[in-house]
Each structure stands twice: as C-alpha cells, then as structure tokens.
Amino acid sequence: MSPLQRIQSMLGVGTSLSSRRTAGGIKPPSYKEHSLRSRIMPMPIPPQLKIPVGATESGTIALDIAAGDHVHKYQKLAQLQLSAQGRTSIPVHAPTSGIVSAIEEAYVADHSQQKQVCIVLKTDGLDTSLPLEPAVDYRQLASEELVTAIRRAGIVGMGGAGFPAADKIDSAAHQALDLLIINAAECEPYISADEALIRERAEGVVTGAEILQRASSARRCIIAIESSKPNAIQALEQAIEAQTNITGNCELLLVPSKYPVGSEKQLIQSVSGIEIPSGQHPAQHGVLVHNVGTSYAVFQALVLGRPCISRITTLSGQALKTPKNFEALIGCSVEFLFEICGIDKSLRHKTLLGGSLMGLQLPSDNAAVSKTTNCLIAAGSDELAPPTEIQACIRCGFCADACPVRLLPQQLLAFSKTANNSQLLEHGLMDCIECGACDYVCPSHIPLVSIYKDSKAAIETRLTNHERSKVWQQRFQYHQSRIKKEKDQAPTRTKAVPAKKPAAESEVSASNNGNEQEFFSKEKASREIAAAVARVKARRDESKKAASVQDKSK
C-alpha cells in the first residue's frame, strides 16, 4: 500500500478500503517483540508425542490404528466423529514416524480443560513419511472438492476456537457469501504466532486465503491486519501483489491496533461495518471469518498435500531464556517446548495457555500441544501478576468505555452482587465476550470477568432448571388432563351398564365410581397387555421365519 493509499484508507476515501470504528477497546503493552526476535524454529522430534484426538463427550472416536502399530509421518491415525453433526469429522495424523505405545486419556493444552483421548506415539527419530499427494491444481477443483480436501487434512480453526474449518465453510454453503475475512488481527498481548507466520510465509497465507475464498465461493476476500505490524503488512502486500498477477483478488485492510479488534464480530464490524446481531452467526449475514493460521494450513493441505500435523506456537515469558515461535508438532508436551527455550523453572511463577487477557493457567507442563495451542507463557514472578487488593467499585465507568460490546460492566457488577438475573439479562450479560478489557482498566481491581462468568453459569443453570421444570409441569398437566378425561368418560361407561344399578343408589355410589373405574380399567389393561404380548410374539416368529428364509436364499 502506498503512502497515498494509506492516507486515503485513513480518511475513508478513494478506492482503497478503510476500516470502520468499533466501540471500546484497550491498548495494553503487547510484549510481542520478545518472541519475534528470532525466526520460526522447526522443533526437534521429541521422544514421545501425545496426539489429542478429542474428548469422548464431544463425539465418537474411530481409531485407524491399535497400540503397537508402527506408523509413518502423515499417516491418518484416528478421527473424531462429531456427534452434533453426523457427517463431520476431524481426522488426526501422525506428526512423525514411530510406534503407537498406548491410547489413553490425558490433559491437552486447550481451553476445554478436560481430559481428551490421546494417541501416545513413541517416536523413532527416523521421520519416515508417506508420500504427499498434493491436489492437482486447486484452481480447477470445485468448491465441494476443496472442502472435502480441507476436511481430510484435519484442519480446525487455528485461532483458538478449534471448530472444523470445513464445517465452517459448509455452514455458509447455502447462502450467497459476500465477504471472507482472513483474521490476521492477533490483538492479544504475548501471542505472535500469526504475525511470525505472516512475516515468513505470507505467500502461503495468501494462497490459503484464495483457496478458502474459492471453497466458500465468497465474492470478496479481505485480509485484516492491525496497522501496528509493519513487517507483516509489507510481507502481505508483496504476496498479494504476486498473487494478483496470477489469479487471486485478495485485498488487505488495516484495522486499528486495539484489543479486542480480532474478536470475530468486532472484526467484521471493523472491516465491513456490519454489526452481527446478538445470537446470530456471521454466515447468516454473508460473512465468514477464518484465522490466518487456518489459511496457511489450508495452503499446506491443498498445495503441498500435507495434513495438519503442526502449528505455530508462541513461547514467551520472563522465565524463558529465548522466547520464540516454534513450528510445534501436535502432541508434543508443553514441558518439551519450554525446555528447548531454556526455561528457568525457579523463575517461573505460573504457566499460561493463550494470551495474557483471555488465557488460562495450565495446571501442569505435561499437557500436550493441540491444534489450537497458539501461545504458552512461562511468566516470571513480577510478570502478569495483576494487583490483588480489591476495592469497592466507584462507578468511574472506565470499564464501560473499554467494553467492545458497549455493556455497562459497573451496572452488571451491581446486579451480579444481588443476583438480579432479570436486570443482568436486560443489561446484556449474555452478550459479554469475556475479553477482559473491563478488568484491565478497573482501578478497583475487581475481577469483573470471573464474576460475570459465575453469573452466566448461575443464570444458565437456572434457565435449564426452569426449562426442565417446564417440561415436568407440562407432563403433570397432561397427566391431570388425561385423568380428567378418563373421569369425564367414566360416566358414559357406567351408563353403558345402567340396568345393574337402581337410580336411588347411583348418587351414593358416585364416590365409589372412581375406584370401580380403576378396577375395570385394570382388568381391561391386563387383558390388553396379554393381547399385545401375543401380537409381539407372533410378529417375532414371523420375522424369524423371514430371516431364515433369507439365509436359505443366500
């Protein structure tokens, strides 16, 4: 982008794109420079990999191998069949060659915080690989074929969501897609994986973007990056220029450097001005967002034929001698990565997964790197230690100014304290994206986000309880209406046998009517049951006969 274009972009005039204003946001120190000093490092093969397949709750796991099998690099090991949508699956491939020693549940470095089924691979260090089968030419493939290839490569959202990339494309398949946004706005402090990737492999990113555009048949494709990353911007500009000469029509858009501009809906607004309504998906509005990491993985899958077996992971923090970005093999342990970076464990105060604002504390170093592990921080004692002295809210409103969703955190806090759920919902608690901007600016150091998370959970359990009680209420009401119906029908039945009772007695026996009716119905029921059992038996016999006939015919 020329200086003139850049000015035009800032002013929102001319042919080039310009970003739109979004609400709130903060500008925390990013600390990205530490991990960006060196280039992306390929990692040595660790003695053991624990390749996560998925949690048993999230779907059915279909293993292609058994313990004791020898596998090659790129070989498909297993796949997770997601229970939500029957046809989607996430395959897992071997990052290197070796012998499968066990299949066990283990902790994985991702935001699920639950044990997942992992394939334990004892590596042999030979790194013997299956031959790669690159696609013929992605430009000649139909969008369905591209999606299938993306699915086969086991690509998930590399930004952290971990949603299968192919499913995301599929979710928008039935609509006219206006815009594909490649999210290069990696706004959270410490994380530099995407920036490093763009600096060094911009061509791959841009090609991947083009493939994603073709796969999702999007009219436009915009790569959105923060204006504070000049090296990455330059690399992207060159790559886009090179690509435009051939086929692509990717565009580059600079978005303001503030947190959380890279949050999906905020980015969409920043790029297109479209505000995705609460509770709706971007795809419903003709927009799709993919992470640059995903885009690069798609490039690898389609152009090189290489499945997703590694990802760029940032290692940072004061306890590391050489913070840097690694091309980490999926399944290597966090400890192994820290060791190559020269961790001084005596300096380490805590370990974080993800950035400093939305990350979580890792309980142990044994966790395995997954496809969504974008950053690992070994924080020193005076690093990332927010003040713990909590004071009263003085309603200064800094939080409301920082909120990207235009919520009123100070009001939500007051309503959370009194568990005023109707006001919490009214004030949009469920729209909170938990970005932590309010926490960051709070002069009283109130842990707002964790308070909101608790309130959300409390409301959700209340709502589910409410739903459940509604169901029970409905059943009870149905039960009562049925009894009433039977009661209403009862006199007609007793009237059917009127001759037995004299008219004078009928009033007296009215109270007994119910019991008699029950008696009758019980008798009737036992008869009916017997008839039903007989019918079932008859049917079974028939089907057995039919089966034997079939067997014979075979």
């Binding site: 897609l177 309504p277 805590k350 927010p386 003085i394 409301a400 009123l408 002069p443 009283s444």
Partner: protein, 384 residues
C-alpha cells in the same frame, strides 16, 4: 483472583485517580489563596484532619482494613471539595461538623466508598447551609485584603478599618488573622475580634449581583480593575479559570469524561444567554457572570463528576449534566439560595439511578434493524 483471566492489568488504582484529582484542584486553590488569603488553606487542613479521623473511626467500626482504605485518598478528596465551598474565615467547628456529617452519615452509613447515592461533600455543605445560614454566607477575610479594595461593603456601610496600610493577605499578619478567624477561642481577651469579623462580608460576585444589584460590581468594573489586582470580581474569574485548568487536566488524564462538565457548562451558557437582556437592570446576569462569577467551573468539573453519585452511562451523563445545568441557573436566579452547585448536584444525584436505568447505550448486536437490512441488500446485490 490470581488464577483467572485476565492476568494483565493497566496498573491504575483509585489512589492514583484521587491524587490526580487533588493535584487538579491546586490551580484553583492557589488562586483562592492569592486573593483571599490563608482562610481556604485552613479550611482544607481542618476538613482533611477531621475527614481522616472520621474515616478511620468508621472503618474501624465497620471492621474494614484501615490502612488499605485510608490509602485510597477518597476521604481527602471529599474534604478538599467540601472545604473549597466553605467561606474562608468560618470557625473550625463549622468545617468539622460538615465534614464529619459528610463522611460518617452520607458516606459510611450508606456502605462506604462507592455506595453513597449522594455526594458527601455537597450533603455536608447543604446541611451546614440549612443549619447555619449566617456562618455559611459570610465570607470573612482578613481586613488587610479589604482595606485596599473597597472602602464600602456591598450594602454601602463603611468598613471599620483598624489598619491604614495595605498588606498582602499572604503576609504573616494575614496568616495570623486567618488563624484567629478559624480558631476564635485562641484569641487573647484583649484582642478585638470585632475588627476581623466585621472585616468584610463578601461573597461571590454573582451573589453580590443578586443581592445588591449591579452597583458594586459595575463600579468595580468601571474602575478598570486588572485581572490580577486583588479585587473581588476578578478574583473569582481567576479562581474559576484555575479550576477550569484543573478540569482540563482531568479530561486530558481521562479521569473524567467530557459528558458531564461540557453539558453543564453548555446548559448554563445557553440558558443564561436566553434570559439575558442586555442593558436592562434585570436580575439575570450575563452568561459570563454565570460561568466565571461563581462556582460553576468547580461544580462542573469536580463536584458533578463524582462518579459514585453521578449517572454512569454516557447518555445518562448528558442528561444528568443538563439537569444540573438547569438547576444551577434556576436556583441562582429564581431560588432563595445564594449559590446553587450543592443543591443542583444533589438534585442530579436523585435522578442518577433512573438515568442509568433508562439512558443506556445500545448493546452491540442488539436492537438492530439496520444491519440486517444492510446484509439483505448485500445478498440481493450478490444474487444477479
């Protein structure tokens, strides 16, 4: 809370905010000091002392961590804002009573910092104004200040003069006199207290304007008083400009948002301009007089912006500012009180909870008609 995100913090804290606020008060306080002598400083010191004492006692009674909560400096800010409104030369017990009422009753009995629905400093001021109207409306000054400025007070009664030479109110004698005004019990029996207390009852120019018509004020203006001469009208101008600078510092440091001060000033300006009839001897006064002739600036930037008792949403703040601006003008012109910041702000405090409930910003992604329409047209455009 060490174990949950976010792990990074801006490093801001309440003590810093309060300290900046105190710092921002300095230009205005210095201007007051220059013109009116040590009275204001003594008021601040007395109020500060009793505020800290009352705060400590209440924290102890409530079983709170004393060191932690005293360190937030909110009591000092409350004391400073309160003391600025008290006439210099007021006796110590007046100041003490007001600030103890503010801290104990208005702040802590409602739940301490962040819980009080009303501005403590202004409640203290209003209480004193209702209970001790005489002491609260006479601005006693060391008579050195008076000697050189006016030979008659605003009612036209000649001022009893004991000294003929003109001295600075910042001189040692001025200090001694200010001290004696604040602590009357310290005066020796043979000392003539009357000489001081009769010194001058001088309130703000606006009050003079309201009470005594335009004569004194116009006389002062016609005499060509320069900005820094120690003369009553210009004094208030300079003091207001001082607080305006302080307020701009707060805006620059983003401790307050522009919404409340701007709307208050704009409302006062517009309303006073609407009612102002040039040339007529009406009681309304010029817009300039309303903005700089009284406590408008300190009210707009320092008192109405007290976050605890003010409206907290942005649209709410705008309405809050308009309400206060209208109240300021209304009470000044049609009310029976001399100045109106305290009552106007308290009136705003009454409205704040309702404003917060009804004037809310639109939540991202909620209540949208435009966006869906926009995308519909987008879809149409892509169809052909």
């Amino acid at each position: 809370m060490d174990t949950k995100a976010p792990f990074q913090h801006s490093g801001k804290n309440i003590a810093q905010l309060m300290q900046t606020l105190l710092l921002a008060l300095l230009p205005g306080i210095c201007a007051s000091l220059w013109f009116f002598g040590y009275g204001i400083l003594l008021n601040i010191l007395i109020a500060g002392f009793f505020a800290l004492a009352a705060e400590t006692a209440m924290l102890r009674l409530r079983g709170k961590k004393i060191a932690l909560h005293l360190a937030d400096r909110s009591a000092l800010v409350c004391a400073a804002l309160f003391a600025i409104g008290i006439p210099p030369g007021a006796p110590w017990w007046l100041v003490a009573l007001g600030i103890i009422f503010a801290i104990v009753v208005v702040k802590h009995l409602y739940g301490g910092l962040g819980q009080n629905p009303f501005n403590p400093a202004m409640c203290g001021y209003a209480m004193l104004l209702l209970a001790f109207p005489l002491q609260m409306t006479s601005w006693h000054l060391p008579n050195e200040v008076v000697e050189g400025v006016l030979s008659v007070d605003n009612l036209g009664i000649p001022i009893a003069s004991t000294e003929q030479e003109i001295l600075s109110p910042l001189s040692g004698r001025g200090f001694k006199q200010a001290l004696l005004l604040s602590f009357p019990f310290a005066a020796s029996s043979d000392f003539d207290m009357k000489a001081f207390t009769d010194g001058l009852a001088m309130a703000t120019p606006l009050i003079e304007f309201k009470m005594a018509g335009q004569s004194a004020l116009l006389a002062a203006r016609d005499s060509g008083a320069s900005l820094f001469s120690r003369e009553s009208e210009t004094a208030w101008e300079v003091i207001n400009i001082g607080y305006l600078f302080g307020g701009l510092l707060l805006l620059y440091k983003r401790i307050i948002s522009w919404h409340i001060p701007l709307t208050i000033i704009a409302t006062v300006l517009i309303v006073s301009a609407l009612f102002y009839a040039p040339g007529s001897a009406s009681i309304y006064g010029t817009p300039y007089l309303h903005l700089f002739g009284s406590a408008t600036m300190i009210g707009a930037f320092f008192i109405a912006t007290d976050p605890v008792s003010a409206a907290t949403t942005r649209p709410g703040k705008v309405v809050y500012g308009i309400i206060i601006g209208l109240s300021i003008y209304s009470i000044r012109v049609w009310g029976s009180y001399l100045d109106s910041i305290a009552f106007a702000v308290l009136f705003g405090n009454f409205c704040a909870p309702a404003l917060d409930q009804f004037c809310r910003p639109r939540i991202f992604g909620q209540g949208l008609l435009r966006a869906t329409k926009l995308t519909e047209t987008n879809h149409e455009s892509t169809k052909p």
